[in-house]
């Protein structure tokens, strides 16, 4: 099984001296759901953007889908979802989802068909003609996800997509995201602040620590699939969450000693 994402020795130093990332090694296999979790300043969002070739690493190599990150971006091998839905108010929901397809020059019929499929996938059938400002925050994020998946990319990058939503909407969207993950077969790299979210969604949780940003622990999550509301009440869930929490604290303590 080839690795979808292959990160070796990646470091990133910003102008002004901040070392955002130091010597990151990470392999992500096809079909995984990997969460990056850590306190502010640990570089998780930076790492995500390096995978997407939106930031260049200072050192090290990144391979996505067997190609360089740049080539993968050019070939539209991934879709990206931000915390802000970044929808265009001047386009309808359907036109927003169609945007990457338009840019790739797809003919209208094919575009419309794919847009319908995507809206079905995120359970927004019938909302195609609405404008983004007519939708709630959670619905806007679903549109953003639909747009990110419109190419059926191998990789989906998500930067705290549910961070701005309330807890109940968040839990619901978590469940929906897992359904989408299963249906689309994509590999997902997911940045989050929430321990519960990371444990619930992922096959592996990568715990990061700051100053300098590095991977402090990788925790496999072998909870049963498909995950449901019951999963959150499983004692094993609680144990794994505790493991993640302790890894986060430990990462902090290492910094104090050093």
């Amino acid at each position: 099984m080839t690795n979808v994402v292959e990160i070796q020795g990646v470091s990133k130093q910003f102008k002004g001296g901040t070392v955002a990332l130091q010597d990151i090694d990470l392999q992500i296999e096809q079909g995984e759901f990997v969460s990056l979790i850590g306190p502010s300043g640990c570089g998780k969002s930076t790492l995500l953007r390096i995978i997407g070739d939106l930031i260049e690493p200072s050192r090290g190599t990144v391979a996505v889908n067997g190609k360089s990150a740049r080539q993968a971006r050019r070939d539209h091998d991934y879709g990206i979802v931000f915390q802000d839905a970044v929808l265009y108010n001047w386009r309808t929901v359907a036109k927003n989802v169609a945007l990457p397809l338009e840019l790739a020059g797809w003919p209208r019929e094919r575009r419309q068909q794919r847009v319908e499929e995507m809206l079905d996938l995120v359970e927004l059938r019938g909302f195609g003609d609405h404008h983004p400002w007519q939708l709630s925050g959670g619905m806007q994020q679903r549109v953003s996800i639909a747009r990110a998946l419109s190419f059926e990319p191998a990789l989906l990058l998500m930067d705290e997509p549910f961070g701005a939503l309330d807890e109940m909407t968040r839990e619901r969207l978590n469940a929906e995201l897992l359904q989408i993950w299963e249906a689309s077969g994509a590999t997902i790299v997911f940045v989050t602040h929430s321990i519960a979210e990371a444990v619930f969604l992922s096959t592996r949780v990568v715990v990061m620590s700051p100053r300098p940003g590095r991977v402090s622990k990788v925790i496999p999550i072998e909870l049963a699939q498909p995950r449901t509301a019951e999963t959150r009440e499983d004692p094993r869930f609680f144990e794994l969450a505790t493991e993640v929490r302790e890894a986060l604290h430990f990462g902090g303590q290492v910094e104090v000693i050093a």
Partner: protein
């Protein structure tokens, strides 16, 4: 600040009341206090002068309006081009912005005699130049602001699609800048008309409003002068409303203030 192309009668009623009250009061004060006609004519006298001079008034108004329109088109056009250039090169923009603002502080209208010297004062071009310069600044400043107000995530998203700069410009920057652009356009529409009229003040064809207003005032034909001012207002307000209407149409995707929108 949009003109309320009002939806309910309640929106319009107060303004209508004020209008009627205003004219009633005007008429009453002039007649009641026997104010000399050379100071302030009564509305009905002005109306009479308006009716009896109608063809000439509309002709003059149209003449001046053409100058305003021409200047508006040139000024806004040049401003857009400059704004695109300046927004594209960040460093240039930040460096030049203080100078643009300082240039805006120059009383442009003082250059009217010079444009009259450059171009024949009877020629519309001399006033168009003044109007154009007046329109330039608000449009330039606002379009630059609008083009620059794109959120960084929108640009990141576009990067992830690996599209060229021109596409990003077309699909993202232009729609984002549109509301700013139209705000400036409304301001410019009023400035253009005033610039044209005041420019004519320093010397203009007798077919123009400004020259006629000046002449009639100096001949103490105040009713006619006020009628001409009324025509100027009609054209000015009409121009503003026309721009506001185009704005409404072009930005109809904008979330209205009264619609519940979460973001």
């Amino acid at each position: 600040m949009t003109v309320a192309v009002g939806r309910r009668v309640a929106d319009w009623a107060p303004a209508a009341v004020v209008l009627v009250a205003f004219f009633g009061l005007w008429e009453g004060i002039v007649k009641g206090f026997h104010i000399q006609r050379f100071l302030l004519p009564a509305p009905d006298a002005i109306w009479h002068a308006f009716r009896s001079n109608q063809p000439a008034l509309w002709h003059e108004g149209w003449f001046t309006f053409q100058e305003a329109l021409g200047g508006f088109a040139i000024g806004c056009g040049v401003a857009i081009v400059f704004a695109i250039v300046v927004a594209r090169w960040e460093g240039l923009g930040s460096a030049l912005m203080p100078y643009t603002i300082a240039a805006n502080a120059i009383p442009i209208i003082a250059f009217a005699p010079i444009t009259n010297a450059w171009f024949n004062p009877l020629n519309k071009t001399s006033k168009m130049v003044i109007a154009a310069v007046l329109c330039f600044f608000p449009v330039f400043v606002n379009v630059v602001r609008g083009l620059r107000s794109v959120k960084p995530e929108q640009l990141e998203l576009m990067r992830s699609y690996a599209v060229g700069e021109l596409t990003v410009f077309r699909l993202v920057r232009v729609p984002t800048a549109l509301p700013f652009f139209f705000t400036a356009l409304r301001v410019a529409s009023v400035l253009a008309m005033i610039g044209a009229i005041v420019g004519e003040y320093y010397g203009g064809s007798l077919d123009s409003l400004g020259a006629n207003i000046e002449q009639d005032a100096s001949l103490f034909q105040f009713e006619k002068a006020w009628a001409e001012i009324a025509i100027a207002c009609i054209f000015g307000i009409g121009f503003y409303l026309a721009v506001a209407l185009v704005e409404r149409f072009a930005t109809r995707w904008q979330p209205r203030m009264d619609t519940a929108g979460t973001s």
